[in-house]
Every structure is written in structure tokens, then in C-alpha cells.
Amino acid sequence: MRHRLRDPITGLLFVLPMLVLFLMFRIFPTLGAAGMSLTNWNIGGEWSFTGADNYVRLVNDPNFWSSLRVTLVYTAIYVPLVVLVSLGTALLLNAVVFLRGLFRGILFLPYVTSFVFAGIIWRWIYEIDGLLNGLLAKIDIGTVAFMERADLVLPALAVVSCWKGFGYSMLILLAGLKAIPGTYLEAATVDGASAWQRFRSITLPLLKPALFFVLVIETISSFQVFDTIYVMTGGGPAKASYTLIYGIFERGFRFWEFGYAATWGMVLFAVVLVVALIQRRIVGKEDT
């Protein structure tokens, strides 16, 4: 049994390239982030251990609290919006046969483009002399400065992310809908259930796993929004779109305070971890 001995060595050799990449560029920086957040590391590379100083500074930093609030408000706008749009379009696609592939393709199209691409187009759409205001003028509604109003900038950004990203969630939900046995709905129809009743008591409960997956994926992606903000608002107006990630970027690459920026990163990590743990908790319960 020569290959009994051969297996462990070749196994390790086959994993080795990826393992080295992982240790260096995933694991080491993850541990490094925790370590760095306890130092005053700066651009020159000099650092000394400062204990919890960065964390004390963080909780006393109004910018941090405002960025956390902005991130959560954005999540609260984006997640319901994208779930609603992707569920709606998935239901529509599932209900038609003729031209379904064409519609599915069109609705999925923006997903393959970049957020930078989406940001540039939508920045123009939201301009004072842009597409949206042009259309609003045609129906005699005055111009709206979407990018300059603190109350409109987050919904406007959420619409861009939704436009670019809903195709993914739509496909996940469409696959979920297709997995629902047709006989269930048929039987309910025969029993005289209305379309709404069928949706409420058959489709929705059976779609729950797919819906839950979409909810978690979209929540986590909403915490990580950055590209569109960088392109469209730069965190403005008056920090109304200054998210956690934008804070990490600005602290790190505008002020070059690496230690403090890593501390902001740790908060992002904690927030994503909490969502993941809640997800595990709920999914775990469903399984038993």
C-alpha cells in the first residue's frame, strides 16, 4: 500500500501554494489587525504599544458614532429595498413562460458591471442637470439636489446599489421558487385559495431558507458599501454618507493613522461577526 504513505505528502504539497497565500495574506493580516489596533502605528512605520488608547479614542470620536449611525441607516434602507425588488422580480419571472429568459437576462445585466461604473452613471443621473431632474422637470416637479441633501443621499445610494446588485438575489429567490413543488399550489388552487393566500401560506414559508440567505448576504454587503460612496459623494454632504468603511479608508489613507484605522476595522469585523452569529443561531434553530 504505497499510496498510504504517499497520500499525506502529496496532500500537503497540493495544499501548500494556497496555504502559503492564506497564511500570509489572510490569516496574518487578520491577526495583524487586532495587534495593530493596540498601537499608534503611523506612515513612517514607527509604532509603540498604546494598549486600549485607540479604543478609548474611538468611543469618544463623534465621527465614529456618526459613521456607525450612517452605516446602520443605510442598511435599514438598502436591505428592505433590495429584498423587495428581488422578491418582486423573482415572483414575476416565475409567473411567466414566454420571454422569461430575456427578462431574466435584462434584469441581471447590471450585476456584471462594477460599482465604480454604476457610481459614475448614477452620479450623472442625480446631477442637477442630470437624467432624473430632467424627467422630474417634464412632470413639473422642481429640481432636487440628491447628492447635496443629507436626508436624500443615503436613499439615493441605496437605489444605486440595489440597481447594480438585485439581480443576484433575484436569481437565488427564483431558484427557491422553482424548487417549490407545483402540486402544492395546484392543490390549494383546487381548494379555492386566493393568490394572496397561496403566497402567504405556501410560497412564503417554503421560500424562507432562500429569503433568509438573501437577507444575510445583503445585510453583510450593505456594511461593506464603499465604491459608490467614493465615486459619488466622498462621504458627504457633511458626512451624511460617511460609513464605517469610508472611515477606515480615510483614517488609513488620508490621515495615515494605521493603528487607529485598524481599530475602526475591528469594529467592522465585530459587526459582521454579530450578524453571522445571529444567522447561525436562527438557522440552527430551524434545523432542529
Binding site: 501554494p17 431574466r104 450623472w124 465604491d227
Partner: protein, 290 residues
């Protein structure tokens, strides 16, 4: 609902009377009307972008009025500008090199995790999967410090190598290879095939469909990637197209030029989309790759 449309035979077999056709037809029209509205909202920004990109610079265009004539001047001007071509080539290098190396390393690792026994295998796999929980942005600062200390700032290796550690790819390959029958590998070993030969003549050909899917996704991820190139590329020498577009946006005041650049930047993604749409769509539904 769907059933009346997709399964007329099943319905005919039942005693249930067919519903009033007029109502069914109205419902169908409503469904298609809604789908058309959603499609228009999705396509609208693309169409508007193309019109602005093809309008003469400074001339009135949508939404004020339709342009009098369309022109390719903006596009040729963009393609003639030195930066743009360089950024495009950089994006191409970033994406293609990443695709090749990730497919190779991830399928090798996936094969070992699926079919080999070696000490620490399960612990390693779980560590790989656990790192998916750590958002990239949370490790951005230490990663940047590490790579620039190693001399990787503004170099291609500094741009590419850190993005190759991709746990999604490893996990996907492992899941797929686990489904291949063990007998295949045993037979090859009995025949005395070397391990590399087994990998190259059994694993690679049999995983072609999943390798193709993964390749498309890795290409799109890298072509559209922004934050890492933004911090690590500091000059046109390694700047990718997404970063270049944002540089252009701060310098360029003409929307016609910006829209042309954006439009050209999306061409590879759109080509991938039109060639492989069905493939992409199916693999998202099956694997959840994002």
C-alpha cells in the same frame, strides 16, 4: 398562476373547470407590463449612458433633448489618451493572471481537501472557511502595511498576489471534487500514474465545468475590483481601469467623456455576459457564488 401556463396537460387531466379566460389574459398582460417596467428601469441607465457617450461634447443631449447627431469622437478620444489604454491593460493583467493562478491553486487545494488524508486537513479547511467571515476591509490596513513593507506598493505582484487567497474558490472546488468517484483515482494509482499526472489528466478534465464557472466569476471580481487596487496602485504603471475612472472623474468635467470611459470599461463584462449568461445564471442558482 404559473401552473395554468406551464402545465396545461396536468390541468386538463383534472376535473377542475378552467378559469375564465378573460381574467387570465388580463393577469398575463399585467405581469408582462410590470416586467417591462422593471426592465426599462434596469436598462434606462445603460441607454442614457450610451446616448450621452455618443453625443458631441458640450452639445445639449438627454434629458434636455435628443442629440442632433451621434458621434464616436468621445470614444476615439478616450482610446487615444495614454492613461486609458494603460489602465485597460493593467486590468486585463490583474484579471487574467488572477484567474489562471486561482484556478490552478484552488483546484489543487480542493483536490487535496476532497481526496487526500493528511495531518491537519480538517483544521486547515475550517480555518479557510472561517476567514470568509472576516471582511476584507477589516484587514485592509495590515495587508497594505505588509505588502508595502515587502516592496509591493505600485507593483503587479503587490496588486495580484494578496488577492489570490480565495477561500470561496477552494471550498467550491472541494465540494465538486468530493462528488467524483474514488474508483477513478484508485484505478489511476494502480496503473502507476504519478500524482501530478492524476491531477492533470483526471482532476482538471473532470472539473472543467466548475473551473469555467469559477474562472468567469474570478474574472468579474477582479475586473470590477476597486478598494485594493485603489490603495496599492499609486501610478498609471499599475492603476486598473476602475481606479483610473475615478481619477478621470476628478479631472474631467465633460460628462460625454466620462460616460464614454465608463461604457468602454464595461465592455469585457458585457461580452462575458452575452456569451455566458445562461452559464452565470445557472451557477448562481446552484452554487450561490457571488
Amino acid at each position: 398562476m404559473t401552473l395554468t401556463a406551464t402545465r396545461p396537460a396536468a390541468r386538463a387531466g383534472r376535473a377542475a373547470a378552467p378559469r375564465r379566460p378573460a381574467r387570465g389574459r388580463a393577469r398575463k398582460w399585467a405581469l408582462y407590463a410590470l416586467l417591462s417596467v422593471m426592465s426599462l428601469l434596469t436598462l434606462g441607465p445603460f441607454i442614457a449612458m450610451i446616448i450621452v457617450a455618443l453625443s458631441p461634447r458640450g452639445a445639449p443631449t438627454v434629458p434636455v433633448q435628443w442629440p442632433d447627431a451621434l458621434t464616436f469622437d468621445n470614444i476615439t478620444q478616450i482610446l487615444g489618451a495614454s492613461g486609458f489604454i494603460e489602465w485597460t491593460l493593467n486590468s486585463l493583467i490583474y484579471s487574467v493572471v488572477s484567474v489562471v493562478i486561482i484556478l490552478l491553486t484552488a483546484s489543487m487545494a480542493g483536490y487535496a481537501f476532497a481526496k487526500k488524508r493528511f495531518p491537519g486537513r480538517d483544521a486547515m479547511l475550517w480555518t479557510f472557511i472561517a476567514t470568509m467571515m472576516v471582511p476584507f476591509q477589516a484587514t485592509l490596513i495590515p495587508l497594505y502595511v505588509l505588502v508595502s513593507d515587502l516592496g509591493g506598493a505600485d507593483t503587479f505582484w503587490g496588486l495580484i498576489v494578496p488577492t489570490l487567497a480565495n477561500s470561496q474558490a477552494v471550498f467550491l472546488m472541494r465540494q465538486f471534487i468530493m462528488g467524483l468517484p474514488d474508483e477513478l483515482f484508485d484505478a489511476a494509482k494502480v496503473d502507476g500514474a504519478s500524482e501530478l499526472r492524476v491531477y492533470w489528466t483526471i482532476v482538471v478534465p473532470l472539473t472543467k465545468p466548475i473551473l469555467a464557472t469559477l474562472g468567469v466569476f474570478v474574472f468579474l471580481w477582479h475586473w470590477n475590483d476597486f478598494l485594493w487596487p485603489l490603495v496599492i496602485s499609486q501610478s498609471d504603471a499599475t492603476r486598473t481601469l476602475t481606479v483610473g475612472l475615478t481619477v478621470l472623474k476628478t479631472e474631467e468635467l465633460q460628462w460625454a467623456t466620462l460616460m464614454s470611459s465608463a461604457a468602454v470599461s464595461a465592455v469585457p463584462c458585457l461580452v462575458v455576459f452575452f456569451l455566458l449568461q445562461r452559464y452565470l445564471v445557472n451557477s448562481i442558482a446552484m452554487t450561490g457564488l457571488k
